[in-house]
């Protein structure tokens, strides 16, 4: 029964994937290949689609696989399955939250966790920019992308000096999509 398979498969993904989609991709690959849902080529294509369309990557993957295997209903079932664990776990934490967060040991653990996450996020961002510019893993330096990255960063951060609130992230996304369409066309 494909609907049940999809539901259980993506419930598993939602339950055991920690640390965001990039960490979860190998796990999702395993689940998808174990069920024989997509072949290798389709799998790679599906991951590329999920990364380049808006929305949480894991949700995109679930919707895509669900839709390929079970149409609209399959898509809805797989998507619900991947979302439900996170939804209920957060609800559970929220209900227990006040007591939980006031615990001295939880506070102590958080005081270590917060700076740790800042380090992880900072490095993730910096490496992503370097890799995108072809400066990592023996890539060829992509001069055009380096120039674009510097100019867009300059405009984004510079706008805060000129305007009161500066550009917001949505404006940044739209600007860079537009710049991509225009500049990479040549």
């Amino acid at each position: 029964m494909i609907y049940l398979d999809l539901f259980i498969g993506f419930l598993e993904v939602g339950f055991f994937s920690f640390g965001g989609a990039y960490a979860a991709i190998p796990f999702i690959k395993d689940v998808v290949t174990a069920h024989n849902w997509l072949d290798e080529e389709m799998l790679t294509y599906m991951i590329a689609i999920s990364e380049s369309t808006p929305g949480p990557i894991m949700v995109n993957m679930a919707t895509y696989v669900g839709s390929e295997k079970g149409g609209l209903i399959g898509a809805a079932i797989a998507t619900a399955a991947v979302v439900l664990p996170a939804f209920f776990i957060i609800l559970l934490i929220m209900v227990a939250m006040n007591k939980f967060l006031k615990n001295r040991y939880v506070k102590a653990a958080l005081s270590g966790l917060k700076p740790c996450i800042m380090g992880i996020i900072l490095v993730t961002g910096v490496l992503m920019i370097l890799k995108n510019c072809g400066l990592l893993f023996n890539g060829r330096a992509d001069i055009l992308t380096i120039v674009l990255t510097c100019s867009i960063a300059f405009i984004y951060f510079g706008s805060r000096l000129v305007m009161k609130k500066g550009m917001n992230p949505i404006m940044l996304i739209c600007l860079s999509a537009f710049v991509g369409i225009v500049v990479y066309a040549f």
Binding site: A75, R104, I117
Partner: protein, 191 residues
């Protein structure tokens, strides 16, 4: 606007413009929920990031559920989570049904190349904002450097170590430092 509709539309907007996973979204949520709507404080956003990272599931869903529950209990949580999911659900469904060669369309590929640049900048921006607002005690600073260095090594050498391991270590160190501080204060109190 009724709060449920507001939650739904706000998170639908965030869902529409989130590319490249949860970290890039932190900038969007910070901008919308902290700075504009003032639904949560910066400190809550930080705690929320930690919780989202250390619980399973898409980070975006964790965040939407958290903010939704805080503003509108269970109906709020449902409204914001649905809002987060719906745009990408519709887009992916249409692509998988009707567009077989979506990524081969030239302008789509080029737009995405541009968006990738923005995603990197947004992630760095999120980290810098957090660092600016962090209490700069020696332990905090050491922790940032330590985790950044470990993350750098893990990614550059493609080691098979999840960031969860780093986070567990960080939580552990936090507790150890707290216990040692307590013991030292106890000693001082005795004298």
């Amino acid at each position: 606007m009724p709060i449920l509709l507001d939650l739904f539309l706000t998170f639908a907007k965030i869902g529409m413009f989130t590319f490249g996973g949860g970290y890039a979204m932190i900038s969007l949520i910070e901008n919308t929920c902290v700075e504009n709507k003032k639904w949560i404080t910066h400190d809550e956003m930080m705690t929320l990031t930690v919780i989202a990272e250390s619980t399973p599931g898409p980070i975006a869903i964790n965040c939407a559920t958290y903010v939704g529950y805080k503003k509108g209990k269970i109906p709020g949580a449902i409204a914001s989570t649905l809002g987060m999911v719906l745009p990408s659900f519709i887009i992916i469904y249409l692509i998988s049904r009707f567009l077989n060669h979506f990524l081969e369309i030239t302008w789509v590929a080029n737009a995405f190349k541009g968006i990738k640049i923005a995603v990197g900048i947004l992630i760095v921006d999120a980290a810098v904002k957090m660092l600016k607002k962090m209490k700069k005690k020696p332990m905090q600073i050491a922790m940032v450097c330590l985790s950044a260095a470990s993350m750098m090594i893990i990614s550059l050498y493609k080691l098979n170590i999840s960031s969860m391991v780093l986070m567990l270590a960080a939580a552990f160190i936090g507790i150890i430092v707290f216990v040692i501080n307590n013991m030292m204060e106890g000693e001082r109190a005795k004298k």
